[in-house]
């Protein structure tokens, strides 16, 4: 039986989270789901930072950066969700396609 080392498992998890997050952003048109997809994506990035810290022997740098990302990411999602609430109240929809004003 192939032994799964911790870094390898972590790497698989990173790729999986990034993939799921990107897929979510790629296919969904619901603003709430976009925020969820972004969250999953960022969690993948977080794990990647920790993994990189461990592999390069700079565990503390990795953890510091991860903490920074957690703080920034929380703010982003809070603001995004607050915006989503306002968008729903103002426009009555969360469909990005319908909300887009950039179209010709």
């Amino acid at each position: 039986m192939m032994s799964l080392s911790l870094p390898l498992m972590a790497a698989v998890a990173v790729l999986g989270l990034l993939g799921i997050g990107l897929l979510g952003l790629l296919v969904t048109r619901n603003l709430i789901k976009v925020v969820v997809g972004m969250q999953i994506l960022v969690k993948g990035a977080l794990l990647a930072l920790l993994l990189a810290g461990r592999l390069s022997g700079q565990v503390q740098t990795g953890q510091t950066l991860a903490l920074t990302v957690i703080v920034a990411d929380t703010i982003v999602s809070v603001v995004a969700l607050a915006l989503a609430v306002q968008v729903r109240r103002q426009f009555g929809t969360l469909d990005l396609q319908a909300l887009s004003t950039l179209r010709r």
Binding site: L26, V27, R29, Q97, S100, L102, R103, R104
Partner: protein, 584 residues
């Protein structure tokens, strides 16, 4: 006595500090704003003048900016200090002139802040010896120029002219930035003296790229062919700004750049020929356009373009001293011409020369100083423009091709012709406008008189000016005393040829009634010249092509998040593929 590096910083920082202060004063206290502007412009000029005896041939001040940005270094040698002095003293006179010209104008804070910001940046541009820093200052001057051209921002013409100037000088800025990055790539730092001392260490093709990049930058900044179209439009700016930025200082930055880097690029094949050709074509073409324009400030703008052409031509022919000497003369007499034109425009409230005429009686002082400036522009002995133009023509005769020299000669004749044309349209003949004309204010006169005196006397400084530039001139430039230099000009055969051509130009204006047939047959050229020889059409074509392609690219910006994420993913894949291929 402060040392040179302190003075260098002061001459940049004082105008900048003034800019910030005036901005903070707000527009409710115009008297305080006028006073602050004059005080800080004077202080900057004093700091720059104090650098004259202290100039140094090596870098002063070494302030590290960290990693790739290199050090803040200044090289206050003769060339740099000379231009810093020109920028600050003429800047100071333009500010004094503005006290009358801009009286009662709204938003004085914005005006003076940008003028002082410009003066400081121009000093920084010429003093810096870090090429990246030169680029930064270069762009700041372009920004100030844009903001001041568009100063009357409720006038769409002024806004359009500002944007045009900004875009065209940015195109040139790319050449300068590319040159700076090449220098960093091959030399490891941005130090200009190191580069000038051993330019042959760079591969020849890289050196050629830098040389032509700098030529594009200089042509755009100094409004040379084919970028000349922005300068006449820039005349929407308040007239003191036209005198300062678009005649005496910023447009000289291109000439400065070419002169500074001449020793490095001299040996690049065809570079000198390209410089000579650009100068000659510009000088002649702009002179023709000056002949047909009816807007007083546009005539002066075209003549600025033409005279800058003379300087560029002289550099291409190897006459660095001649070009810098002409720069000095031109800065003085063109600032004088612009400021007196400002006084005239202020008095009659129009720029159209067909509505002027007979103004000599109402504004005698302005008439006298403007005629002095005009005769210097035409190259009449013994004003400063005569000596420097003859030096340029002599340098061109020795170092440039014959066709270019003939271009310049014809240009000199046309210069005399259009100078007489605008002087007589403004000051002589019957008064054509029924408006009440008021004479120039006291602050205007205070600014005009020193410039008129300078126009009469700066040529006496020829010899000491040569010594002053000193090592900034390339090797083999023998510096002579004023007497020897003037004697050399007086005895040179080119001088008499040029004088004859100038006299021909004057005679052509005198006898213009008899030459009506000739003028009629040349009307085609005149029409082409009024249409700026088709360059405006080229500009419009560039703009419409850009707009059309941007419009068609809008389909990619559909605002659908999924498409954007898709594009990011595709980009990621492309990068990964490139990395994989590159690593293999």
């Amino acid at each position: 006595m402060p040392d040179i590096s302190t003075l260098a910083i002061l001459s940049i920082a004082l105008p900048w500090a003034g800019a910030v202060l005036i901005w903070l004063v707000r527009d409710r206290q115009p008297q305080l704003q006028h006073a602050l502007a004059v005080v800080f412009a004077l202080a900057g000029a004093a700091a720059a003048l104090a650098m004259i005896p202290l100039r140094s041939e090596v870098n002063v001040l070494d302030f590290p900016l960290g990693s790739a940005f290199g050090q803040v270094t200044f090289l206050p040698d003769g060339l740099a200090v000379f231009l810093a002095v020109v920028a600050t003293t003429i800047g100071c006179l333009a500010v004094v002139f503005s006290v009358d010209y801009m009286k009662g104008e709204k938003q004085l804070g914005r005006y003076y802040a940008y003028v002082l910001f410009f003066i400081g940046s121009m000093v920084g541009l010429v003093l810096s010896s870090n090429l990246l820093l030169i680029f930064v200052f270069w762009e700041i001057t372009a920004l100030c120029s844009y903001a001041l051209i568009s100063f009357y921002n409720d006038d769409p013409k002024a806004v359009a002219a500002g944007i045009k100037a900004l875009i065209i000088t940015q195109v040139g800025g790319i050449g300068l930035l590319a040159g700076a990055l090449f220098l960093y790539a091959y030399q490891g730092n941005y130090d200009v003296p190191t580069f000038l001392a051993g330019a042959d260490r760079l591969p020849p093709n890289v050196l050629a790229l830098m040389a032509f990049g700098f030529l594009v930058a200089a042509a755009a900044k100094s409004a040379q062919f084919p970028f000349q179209t922005w300068l006449p439009d820039a005349m929407e700016a308040p007239t003191p700004v036209s005198a300062l930025i678009h005649a005496a200082t910023m447009v000289n930055a291109g000439v400065y750049l070419l002169a500074r880097f001449y020793p490095a690029f001299e040996a690049v094949p065809n570079w000198k020929l390209a410089v000579v050709s650009i100068g000659a074509v510009t000088a002649l073409m702009a002179a023709v356009m000056a002949l047909v324009s009816n807007d007083l400030k546009r005539v002066l703008a075209y003549s600025t373009v033409s005279q800058l052409g003379y300087m560029v031509y002289a550099i291409g022919a190897g006459g660095i001293f001649a070009s810098q000497f002409h720069l000095l003369s031109h800065a003085v007499f063109k600032a004088l011409l612009f400021l007196s034109a400002g006084a005239v425009i202020h008095a009659v409230h129009t720029r159209d020369m067909r509505e002027m005429g007979g103004l000599g009686k109402q504004m005698p002082l302005v008439k006298v100083v403007m005629i002095i400036g005009g005769l210097a522009l035409a190259g009449i002995p013994v004003l400063n423009g005569f000596w420097s133009k003859e030096l340029v023509l002599e340098a061109g005769h020795e170092g440039g091709p014959l066709w270019a020299w003939l271009f310049m000669l014809v240009g000199a004749g046309l210069t005399a012709l259009y100078t007489l044309r605008f002087l007589s349209m403004v000051f002589y003949g019957e008064p054509r406008s029924g408006q009440h004309v008021h004479d120039a204010g006291p602050a205007m006169k205070v600014a005009l008189v020193p410039l008129a005196l300078g126009t009469l006397t700066t040529w006496l400084l020829a010899g000491s000016f040569g010594h002053f530039l000193g090592k900034a001139l390339p090797e083999g430039h023998d510096v002579e005393s004023t007497g020897a230099l003037l004697l050399q000009i007086v005895t040179a055969p080119t001088t008499f040829v040029a004088l004859a051509v100038v006299a021909l130009g004057l005679a052509a204006w005198w006898q213009r009634a008899r030459l009506a047939g000739l003028a009629h047959s040349l009307r085609g050229i005149g029409t082409m010249a009024s249409n700026s020889f088709g360059f405006e059409a080229i500009n419009r074509a560039v703009v419409s092509v850009t707009e059309a392609s941007a419009e068609s690219l809008r389909t990619t910006h559909n605002g659908v998040l999924n498409w954007n994420v898709m594009a990011i993913l595709v980009g990621l894949v492309v990068v990964l593929v490139i990395l994989a291929l590159g690593g293999a």
